[in-house]
C-alpha cells in the first residue's frame, strides 16, 4: 500500500469521527468510563496486592535447633534453607539478639532486673522469609525432616488468609475487567456499524470504482482505533490526578494506618497502567471495528 493511500485512509478515519460526532462522543465517553473504572480497579487491586505483598514479606517461619548443635552445623542448615527456591531471605538470630528483641517488644523498662542473664539462651534461630506464602506448608514439611532442627514455628492462618485474599482479588478483577471489555467492544462495534450505515452510499461508490477491500475497510478500523485511543487516554489523565490527590489525603488523614496501607508510587503505578490502558483502548477499538467491518462490509 502506498504511503499516500495510508495517509488518506488515516485522514478518512479521523474525519469519520467528526462526521459522526454525536455517536463518536457517546462512544468515547462510554469507553472512557469503562477504562476509568478499569483504572480505578487496577489501582485498587495493585495497591491491595502491594499491601498484601508487604504483609507477606513480614510472615516468617522460625526454626530452632537441637541443643548443643555446632555452629558449623547451624551454618550448613542455613545454606541448605537459602538454596530452596521458595525462600527469599534467611536471617540468623542469635540468642542475644532474640532476647534483645523480646525485651524491646514485651518488657521495656522492666527488663532491667534481668541484666546479665539471658533466659533465651539456646534459642538461636533462623527467620525464614518466603517469596510466596502459599508455599509455606511444603517448606515446613521439609524443615521438619532436616536433622538438627528441633522445632519449626509457623503462622499457617496468616499465610492462608493472605493467599486467599490475593486469589480472590485477582479473580474478581479479572471478571470485572472482562465485562468492561465486552461492553466496550460492543459499543465500538455499534458506533462503527452506525458509521457504515450512514456512509453506505460512499462505500457503494468505492466498490464500483474498484477500491480494494483493505481501502474500503481501513478508515472504519482506524476510526475504531482512534476512538479507543482517545477513550483510554482521557481517563488516564483523570486517574493520575485523582490518585495523587487520594494519596496525599490518605497520608495526611490516616497516618495511623500507614503500616497497613502501602501505596504504590504514582510513577510505579503508571509505568504499567499507561501501556495496559492504551493497549486495551486500541485493542477494543481494533476488535470492535474489525468485527463490524467484516460483518457489514462484504465487498
Amino acid at each position: 500500500m502506498r504511503i499516500s493511500t495510508l495517509w488518506y485512509t488515516f485522514k478518512q478515519g479521523f474525519k469519520n469521527i467528526f462526521r459522526n460526532k454525536v455517536f463518536s462522543l457517546a462512544t468515547i465517553a462510554t469507553i472512557s468510563s469503562c477504562i476509568f473504572l478499569f483504572g480505578l480497579f487496577y489501582c485498587l487491586v495493585i495497591n491491595v496486592q502491594y499491601s498484601v505483598k508487604a504483609a507477606q514479606s513480614g510472615v516468617a517461619v522460625t526454626v530452632f535447633f537441637d541443643e548443643g548443635l555446632s555452629d558449623d552445623k547451624i551454618q550448613q542448615i542455613g545454606s541448605q534453607i537459602q538454596s530452596r527456591e521458595e525462600v527469599s531471605e534467611v536471617k540468623f538470630v542469635s540468642s542475644a539478639e532474640a532476647w534483645d528483641s523480646f525485651k524491646e517488644d514485651y518488657l521495656g523498662e522492666y527488663a532491667d532486673g534481668y541484666e546479665g542473664d539471658n533466659p533465651l539462651e539456646g534459642s538461636e534461630n533462623y527467620e525464614i522469609y518466603l517469596k510466596d506464602v502459599s508455599k509455606q506448608p511444603e517448606l515446613v514439611e521439609w524443615l521438619n525432616s532436616v536433622p538438627g532442627i528441633r522445632e519449626v514455628n509457623r503462622s499457617d492462618i496468616t499465610a492462608e488468609v493472605l493467599t486467599n485474599v490475593n486469589t480472590l482479588i485477582s479473580y474478581v478483577s479479572l471478571a470485572i475487567i472482562g465485562i468492561l471489555l465486552l461492553v466496550s467492544v460492543f459499543l465500538i462495534s455499534n458506533t462503527v456499524a452506525m458509521g457504515i450505515s450512514v456512509r453506505r452510499e460512499e462505500i457503494g461508490i468505492m466498490r464500483l470504482i474498484g477500491a480494494k477491500d483493505f481501502v474500503v475497510r481501513s478508515p472504519f478500523v482506524i476510526e475504531g482505533i482512534l476512538i479507543g485511543l482517545i477513550g483510554s487516554a482521557l481517563p488516564l489523565v483523570a486517574i493520575y490526578y485523582l490518585y495523587k490527590l487520594m494519596m496525599e489525603y490518605a497520608n495526611a488523614n490516616f497516618a495511623v494506618l500507614s503500616d497497613m496501607l502501602k501505596f504504590m508510587s504514582v510513577q510505579e503505578l503508571f509505568r504499567n497502567l499507561i501501556p495496559i490502558s492504551l493497549i486495551l483502548g486500541v485493542g477494543i477499538g481494533f476488535l470492535g471495528s474489525l468485527i463490524t467491518v467484516r460483518r457489514h462490509l462484504k465487498v
Binding site: 500500500m1 502506498r2 499516500s4 493511500t5 488518506y8 462526521r19 452510499e201 460512499e202 457503494g204 461508490i205 468505492m206 466498490r207 464500483l208 470504482i209 474498484g210 477500491a211 480494494k212 477491500d213 481501502v215 474500503v216 465487498v299
Partner: protein, 228 residues
C-alpha cells in the same frame, strides 16, 4: 469488448429477470439499451458490473470472464468500467475536485498524478472553473458532469451510463449526451441505458431493445421502439 452468451438470471422468486440473452459490443461502440421497467436493463447493468452473477451463461468484459472471476479480483476488474447513475451519487460533503479525486484515491493513484488528472478531467467536462464548489451548489447537469468526470478519471475502456439524463431538463440532457459522444469519440466504449425517446431517435446509434428479460431488437442506427 463485451460479450454475453446465453445469459439468464433468475432471482430467488424464480422469475427470470434475463432469459437467454446474447449480445456482443465491439470496442469503441456507442450503444443505447432501451426498454420499459421490468425489461431487465438494471439486471443487465448489475451483471456487467459484477454486482450479480448469472444463473447460467457466460459474460466477458474486456477479457475478464465474469462467471469465473474470483471475489478478490472483482475490485481490479471494476476499474475497467466507469459508471454514472440517474441520481449522480456524488459525495455531498466534498467539493467538485474532491469528488473526482476520490475515484483516484481509492484505487491508490499517487497524489502527484491525481493533481494532474483531476483538473484535466474537469476541463473535459467543462467544470474547471467550479472545482471548489460543493456539489449541492451545482445544477443537475453540472452534477452529472462531475459524476462523469469521476467515472472517467481512472481512464476505463468502458463507460456504463444508467439513465444519465433521467433527472435533467432537455437542454442539460443534450449537453450530457454530447459529452458522452465526445468521450466515445476519444475511444471509450459507451453503453447508455435510457428511456429518453427523443435522444435515442435523434442520435442514430446502435439500439438494443429489451422486453421482459429478452432482447427483442438490436439495430445499428436504431430507433426507440414502444411497447405495444
Amino acid at each position: 469488448m463485451i460479450t454475453m452468451e446465453s445469459v439468464s438470471k433468475s432471482y430467488s422468486t424464480g422469475v427470470p429477470a434475463l432469459n437467454d440473452v446474447s449480445l456482443h459490443i465491439k470496442k469503441g461502440e456507442f450503444v443505447f439499451i432501451v426498454g420499459d421497467s421490468g425489461s431487465g436493463k438494471s439486471t443487465l447493468i448489475k451483471l456487467l458490473l459484477r454486482e450479480l452473477t448469472p444463473t447460467s451463461g457466460r459474460i466477458i468484459v474486456n477479457n475478464y470472464d465474469l462467471s469465473r472471476l474470483r471475489r478478490r479480483k472483482v475490485a481490479k476488474f471494476r476499474r475497467n468500467v466507469g459508471v454514472v447513475f440517474q441520481d449522480f451519487r456524488l459525495l455531498k460533503d466534498r467539493n467538485v475536485y474532491e469528488n473526482v479525486a476520490f475515484a483516484q484515491r481509492v484505487i491508490e493513484v499517487p497524489t502527484r498524478q491525481i493533481r494532474k488528472n483531476v483538473p484535466a478531467m474537469l476541463s473535459l467536462v467543462g467544470l474547471a472553473g467550479k472545482y471548489k464548489a460543493k456539489t449541492w451548489q451545482l445544477s443537475g447537469g453540472e452534477q452529472q458532469r462531475v459524476a462523469l468526470a469521476r467515472a472517467l478519471v481512472n481512464n476505463p475502456p468502458i463507460l456504463l451510463a444508467d439513465e444519465p439524463t433521467g433527472n435533467l431538463d432537455p437542454r442539460n440532457s443534450w449537453e450530457i449526451m454530447k459529452l458522452l459522444e465526445e468521450i466515445n469519440r476519444r475511444g471509450t466504449t459507451v453503453l447508455v441505458v435510457t428511456h429518453n425517446r427523443e435522444i435515442v431517435n435523434a442520435m442514430r446509434k446502435r439500439v438494443i431493445t429489451m422486453r421482459k428479460g429478452i432482447i427483442i431488437s438490436d439495430e445499428e442506427k436504431g430507433e426507440y421502439i414502444d411497447e405495444d
